[in-house]
């Protein structure tokens, strides 16, 4: 059993120090987003540089905050900055407070720096778009929302960010809403996310009822006080929330459709940052999951199943962004495996390296689309290596990183995830699935890479009108910077000596850094079987690459052969296992029927009652209106008659009773 106590206490930052000013990190982009929405049209092409400057500001302040934490003793690295009181209803109080600890600081760096690079990239990518200023306003809005999510000190403030990133994601997926398919993709993302949000809300209610507070600094240290039932319920509900935001089974269906958005959006929101919010949530509340390891195992199995399903689908897609989208779903599955098993460090490590290489892959895909007039079919590409050397070189790094080849970053993080599965009793099945998926990942990413950059230049015949060219520097410079991150990100948590001996008792930097804010991994005996596991993953990775090479590169791409061999299973995977169709028949259709029923009820019963009252009134009035003849003399007659009548009644009554 794990210990539940945190290392250290929650403190307050010194006034004037970067952490005390951390509220500027989300507020400045939020203000900038509002101003860009109002004045964007007047700024015109200046809107882009303004948004980039704001993102740069957030990145610099975040770095200062990180540096401040680095300078503090380990047990003082959890700082709570209260900005203002938000709600106060009786004993229920929620502050606008920021939690700055190693976990949120690492996320801050990832979000702001990757965000900054993607802002810069967008300068080139979105150049000439009719709603150019609006795009940067939304990007800044997203940045602000994501930073609130990361920095929020209570479940409720985190939830505010959680909802706002959903809004920003909706606005950006549907940015080109002129196309109905894109607009409905945005709605789909928003609605599927709502399902998860309901889980988040109910979990919040349960936490508040049990622990009397929503602040992380109050609830997490006393997570052990939750009854097993409550903790399990909260864990499962937060899993629903995380599955919605991080695109896990059964709520992953929105992410592939979300590729309708501009490519920088796919890179920023749907690869590097927002979709990792679920992983961050699970890591943040790890003390709750630690009290119910069985629920953690459920989280891990959901991750494993998602990783496998999405990887299988990714092998059969032909749209270069869709392949990356399913790959993202699959890699998020890895992160869920890690955080579900309590290996928070491995999960966050993979989150960071994935943030680098997947953002890079998406930006490279955007660069390719930019060069090929927005074509996305990988079968119409090929041989782009010569025309786009920088995109090719950076994609090469990202490909090797995600395929899990050392010394690139993906190798180290994926390795840690799988070792965590191997070291957890009862999770052997997860390890088997994870290793298999590592091979599939290498296969589909090699397919992606080979079909786009190597082989014969099929675009010459398929797309005769385009002439591919390298993208402008605003796009290639972020690619190069991210490539450095994708290549060297593994160093964040590598055990220096383990490269040679497979074993080094000293923890890597990230593990030591995160130790105060997340629970240590509670596996049996960590890293005992490190050596063979490394080799096995390498072997499956190489087999995947080799298979892709044989099928898609030499002597010429032969997709038909695979299709024939696999037959029905191939069709099944190509059609995304009919999950969308399943949802359409089991949820959407009954929903439609129910709505039709309600609509009929509304028309017949509700409208009938309202209209009936109206008809009754007009009918009665039709009789009553006849009294109004408009002839003054008839009114006078009525007055006189009435007077006589009253006189008869009163005088006659008095006469009859003998009082007259």
């Amino acid at each position: 059993m794990t210990t539940l106590a945190f290392v250290g206490e929650y403190g307050v930052p010194d006034p004037g120090s970067p952490a005390a000013l951390a509220w500027l990190i989300p507020v400045v982009p939020a203000v900038s987003a509002a101003l860009l929405i109002i004045f964007g049209k007047r700024l015109g092409n200046l809107a882009g540089p303004v948004a980039v400057a704001v993102a740069g500001f957030a990145a610099i302040v975040s770095t200062l905050v990180f540096a401040q934490l680095l300078g503090l003793p380990e047990e003082q690295r959890a700082l709570v900055t209260t900005v203002a009181t938000w709600l106060e209803v009786g004993p229920f109080a929620v502050d606008w407070a920021l939690l700055i600890d190693p976990l949120s600081a690492v996320m801050l760096l990832l979000v702001t720096w990757v965000g900054l690079l993607i802002h810069i990239y967008s300068l080139g990518y979105m150049h000439g778009d009719s709603r150019y200023p609006r795009f940067f306003a939304y990007l800044n809005l997203f940045l602000a929302a994501m930073l609130i999510l990361v920095l929020g000190e209570s479940f409720l403030t985190m939830f505010v960010g959680w909802e706002l990133v959903g809004l920003a994601s909706y606005l950006l997926i549907g940015f080109w809403f002129e196309k109905p398919a894109y607009a409905s993709a945005a709605k789909k993302a928003f609605i599927v996310n709502r399902v998860g949000d309901v889980g988040f809300m109910i979990a919040m209610f349960a936490i508040y009822t049990s622990l009397g507070s929503l602040a992380f600094s109050d609830t997490l240290p006393q997570a052990g006080a939750l009854t097993t039932g409550t903790a399990a319920a909260v864990g499962l509900l937060l899993l629903v929330a995380a599955a919605g935001k991080s695109a896990q089974i059964p709520l992953y269906v929105w992410l592939p459709d979300a590729m309708a958005g501009p490519t920088p959006v796919s890179a920023l929101i749907h690869a590097a940052t927002m979709v990792t919010a679920g992983v961050y949530l699970v890591a943040r509340v790890s003390p709750i999951y630690a009290t119910v390891p069985e629920v953690g195992l459920v989280v891990a199995w959901v991750g494993a199943a998602t990783a496998l399903l999405a990887a299988l689908i990714a092998c059969t897609q032909n749209d270069l962004k869709k392949i990356l989208a399913y790959s993202t779903v699959s890699q998020l599955g890895y992160m869920f495996i890690a955080v579900g098993l309590g290996a928070q460090v491995a999960g966050i490590f993979h989150l960071l390296t994935h943030g680098f290489f997947k953002a890079l892959l998406f930006l490279a895909a955007g660069s390719v689309m930019h060069a090929l007039a927005d074509n996305t079919d990988v079968w119409k590409m090929g041989g782009l290596r010569k025309a786009m050397p920088i995109t090719f070189g950076t994609s090469l790094v990202a490909w090797l990183a995600i395929a899990g080849l050392p010394p690139f970053s993906g190798f180290f993080s994926k390795e840690e995830v799988l070792v965590a599965a191997l070291d957890t009793p009862g999770a052997f099945g997860i390890w088997v699935v994870g290793t298999l998926v590592a091979g599939l990942t290498a296969f589909y990413m090699s397919r992606w890479f080979f079909l786009i950059f190597l082989g014969k230049p099929r675009y010459e015949t398929e797309l005769p009108e385009v002439h591919p060219h390298e993208s402008p520097p605003t796009m290639t410079v972020p690619l190069v910077i991210l490539a450095v991150g994708a290549a060297l990100g593994g160093l964040l948590n590598v055990r220096p000596a383990s490269l040679v001996t497979f074993w080094d008792p000293e923890p890597g930097f990230l593990e030591g850094w995160l130790e105060p804010s997340v629970l240590a991994f509670a596996g049996d005996a960590p890293y005992i079987a490190h050596g063979p596991a490394v080799f096995l993953v390498l072997v499956t990775g190489l087999v995947g690459i080799g298979a892709a090479y044989a099928l898609y590169l030499r002597p010429a791409p032969e997709p038909e052969m695979v299709r024939e061999r696999l037959g029905g299973f191939y069709t099944l995977a190509r059609d995304r296992f009919y999950v969308d169709e399943l949802y359409a028949t089991t949820i959407e259709r009954p929903g439609h029927l129910l709505a039709d029923g309600f609509a009929a009820f509304d028309r017949v019963v509700i409208d009938g009652a309202v209209n009936g009252l109206g008809t009754l009134t007009t009918g009665l009035a039709g009789v009553g209106r006849r009294l109004q003849t408009g002839f003054v003399r008839s009114y006078a007659l009525a007055v006189a008659g009435g007077t006589v009548l009253l006189a008869v009644i009163f005088l006659g009554g008095a006469f009859l009773t003998g009082q007259g």
Binding site: Q628, G630, F631, R633, L637
Partner: protein, 101 residues
């Protein structure tokens, strides 16, 4: 010779009835107006008669109030009638039925 109260009341009732019938059956607004005056004055007559019978001045005071109000009413009423005539060219009450439903 003292006239009994009953005669005054009969006269007043007769005047009131004539006025009422006049208001109800005549279509000329000026005639209707005159009939209303007749009704008001029949009431004045009863007030004065009862005042005299009881030896109390209240009824006579009240009848002066009625005369003042009637005078004010006449100015407003005649002004309305003049304007109506300018607008419609008639003083027929039944021609003014814009409020008919």
């Amino acid at each position: 010779m003292i006239v009994p109260i009953g005669w005054y009341l009969i006269l007043a009732a007769a005047l009131f009835s004539i006025g009422l019938v006049g208001v109800l059956v005549r279509r000329n607004i000026i005639i209707m107006f005159m009939c209303i005056e007749l009704m008001l004055n029949s009431v004045n007559l009863t007030l004065v008669a009862f005042s005299r019978m009881h030896g109390n001045l209240d009824g006579q005071v009240l009848s002066f109030f009625v005369i003042v109000v009637a005078a004010a009413e006449v100015t407003v009423g005649l002004a309305l009638i003049v304007n109506l005539f300018k607008l419609r060219g008639t003083t027929d009450a039944d021609s003014v039925d814009a409020l008919r439903a």
